[in-house]
């Protein structure tokens, strides 16, 4: 009984605040950036990007929030309280694609713009989803990273996770599609480190033995890239063989320092938070509508084009090297 009354009360306040929210719209647009959990460097950086977008747009207030642990229940509570507060837009990185749908639907019913970014929500629970990058862009980026340091061409090898890892195989496939754009670069082998540090290390050692003229190892996996960099460093070939691919700045800082890796890529959380905010603003003001084929402006990040599921890719993965690693290694 008490519970029912409480729910009613909550619904009442939600409605009341929805009414109250309308005049507030005139001065400040409130965009909530909901993350998987508070206290994670990656998301703190995204919040920084969101603030940057807010400053650029003007008249926008960012509510950076999320549960204290990465659970869907925690996020549902956060969403309900945001609905009660009557925010104008919610941009969420979801802990569960399906569990959040009812809560987010409720938000959309109340006229709140809902988008997901980084980690998506099922299509019925959001207006659009912003992927950090796309398979094509990643596939192109990993070979470009190697090729940029090999102007005269050379031999590269791929160190993947398991032979059956879907994302890895798609990226490698996309990489092979664009090989024609990088003349002189030859992929001599693809080996599998199973995302185990010791096996990846051993496979990297095997590559160095089998291909004495190897110039670069491309590892589109965060375990593999670290292990390969260590193997190259231990073999005394830092500077000679460039280890590159996808990795996290905090994990790769040592490899950049030793010279085993000249550069690597991953999404930039600051850009991601910035772009999500820009999109949320554009949709909430009606500047753009989320529909298949639509282009939505993202400020300095250009435009995102939506596909048939209303999702789009932000940009190329961001390149990290000696010039910016120190700034990012403490972030994520």
């Amino acid at each position: 009984m008490i519970r029912r009354n409480f729910t009613k009360l909550l619904a009442g306040t939600a409605m009341a605040s929805a009414f109250l929210a309308s005049p507030a719209l005139a001065d400040d647009m409130r965009i909530a950036l909901v993350v998987k959990a508070l206290g994670i460097g990656f998301f703190e950086a995204a919040a920084k990007g969101a603030e940057e977008a807010a400053a650029e747009l003007g008249g926008v207030e960012i509510i950076y929030t999320g549960p204290t642990d990465t659970t869907a229940e925690g996020q549902i509570e956060v969403i309900n309280s945001l609905i009660a507060q009557g925010v104008d837009a919610i941009a969420i990185s979801a802990n569960d694609p399906d569990a959040l749908v009812p809560a987010l639907k409720k938000a959309m019913d109340r006229g709140i713009t809902v988008i997901s970014w980084d980690s998506g929500v099922a299509p019925e629970g959001r207006q659009m989803h912003l992927n950090p990058s796309s398979n094509e862009l990643i596939g192109n980026m990993i070979i470009k990273l190697a090729a940029d340091h090999l102007p005269e061409g050379g031999q590269v090898a791929v160190l993947s996770a398991t032979a059956t890892a879907t994302n890895q195989n798609i990226w490698i496939e996309e990489m092979n599609k664009v090989m024609g754009n990088y003349p002189g670069i030859e992929v001599v082998a693809t080996v599998y480190g199973d995302d185990l540090a010791d096996k990846s290390y051993r496979e990297a050692q095997g590559l160095m033995q089998s291909y004495p003229d190897l110039d670069a190892i491309i590892a589109p996996t965060s375990v593999g890239i670290v292990a390969a960099a260590q193997a190259v460093q231990d073999a005394g070939k830092a500077g000679e063989i460039n280890v590159t691919g996808l990795g996290l700045p905090s994990e790769m800082a040592g490899a950049i320092e030793s010279g085993a890796s000249k550069s690597f890529a991953i999404w930039n959380p600051i850009d991601l938070g910035y772009a999500a905010t820009m999109i949320a603003h554009a949709l909430a003001t009606g500047e753009a509508t989320a529909e298949p084929g639509a282009s939505i402006p993202m400020g300095r990040m250009g435009e995102v084009t939506l596909d048939e599921t209303n999702s789009g890719a932000m940009a190329d993965p961001f390149v990290y090297d000696a010039s910016n690693i120190d700034e990012f290694k403490s972030i994520f």
């Binding site: 032979a163 185990l196 095997g206």
Partner: protein, 327 residues
């Protein structure tokens, strides 16, 4: 004499390793170069250390599935200590690693000894608990190479008389435990307990306590390996050495350690580990599909067990042989 020598598991296994090396050399001659073989030995050193501990546990009719998780937890703890206090001497770190590993091994041992829970259940449980603890203390984060001090990473790599310290530690462990298993009361008790627990009890050996010591030794070796592993790969996270316990058990089985207890030797564990080590290091250079790699590793284990079973069968004695001849 020759027949007895040939029947010895160790000699047979040594022959198998030689044959394997010869086979690999036909496809990749560089593999059998002395420097590369030293590299293979060094790479196999962690497996050797853990296999010795596992062999002792299996001798007493138990099994320790928590070794890899113990290694990972100890590795994470010493890595975090190193980050918090980079100036701490490596000697202290080594002692902490061994002590912590010992402690974790003792937990297994106590549960098996005092509560009489089957070892496979105990260690399956502690395996998960240890991994869980790593997650709790690290918050799921990695300890990365740039956060570790240079001295922390240097020890296993330091070369002494042409071999890295990691290899020397494995060699020392092999020698020490060969001696312990042959010459000490405890070493003999391990065999007695596994060979025939009832007889062991009658001779005054406490079966439970002997098993406790077996788990303790296995834990200590896992702890030591924990530091060496994290230092060698210069990274610590929840999943390091995931599934490695199966490699360790496989090395023991290939090395002729009987899962039924009572049979096994340090030399067997060493050779079993080396056999797996050679396969693991050779597969990347001989250019075989990753799917075949798994099948080959698996086949090696089954063949070893099959050979083992046959060897054990032949041990049956015909007690009425003389009567048979007389007839």
């Amino acid at each position: 004499m020759l027949k007895r020598l040939l029947a010895s598991r160790e000699i047979l296994l040594l022959g198998a390793i030689m044959a394997l090396l010869a086979l690999i050399a036909t496809r990749f001659p560089g593999f059998v170069a002395p420097s590369n073989l030293a590299g293979v030995f060094n790479d196999t050193a962690p497996l050797i250390l853990l296999a010795i501990g596992q062999m002792i546990v299996i001798l007493t009719r138990c099994i320790d599935l928590s070794v890899a998780a113990n290694l990972a937890l100890t590795g994470m703890v010493v890595a975090m200590i190193n980050v918090a206090a980079p100036g701490m001497p490596i000697g202290v770190i080594l002692i902490v690693a061994i002590l912590l590993g010992t402690l974790l091994g003792m937990v297994n041992g106590l549960l098996v000894w005092k509560l009489d829970i089957p070892p496979i259940v105990v260690t399956l449980g502690t395996m998960t608990i240890f991994r869980g603890i790593i997650f709790l203390i690290s918050d799921g984060k990695w300890v990365n190479s740039h956060e570790m001090s240079a001295a922390f990473k240097a020890l296993p790599r330091t070369e002494l008389l042409g071999l890295p310290v990691l290899s020397w530690i494995a060699i020392a462990a092999v020698l020490i435990f060969a001696l312990v298993m042959r010459r000490t009361t405890l070493g003999r008790a391990f065999y007695a307990v596994g060979g025939s627990p009832h007889s062991a009890t009658y001779t005054g050996i406490n079966v439970g306590r002997t098993q406790f010591w077996a788990f303790t030794i296995s834990g200590a070796l896992a702890g030591l390996t924990g530091y060496l592993w994290v230092s060698r790969y210069a990274v610590a996270y929840v999943d390091i050495a995931g599934g490695f316990e199966l490699d360790v058990v496989a090395a023991c089985v290939i090395g002729g350690v009987s899962i039924a207890g009572g049979i096994g030797s340090v030399a067997g564990a060493l050779l079993g580990a080396l056999f797996l080590g050679v396969i693991k290091n050779a597969l990347p250079v001989v250019d075989i599909s990753p799917f075949w790699q798994l099948a080959i590793s698996g086949s090696a284990i089954i063949i070893a067990v099959a050979v083992n079973a046959r060897a054990n069968r032949e041990k049956g004695r015909i007690i009425l042989k003389s009567a048979e001849h007389a007839a």
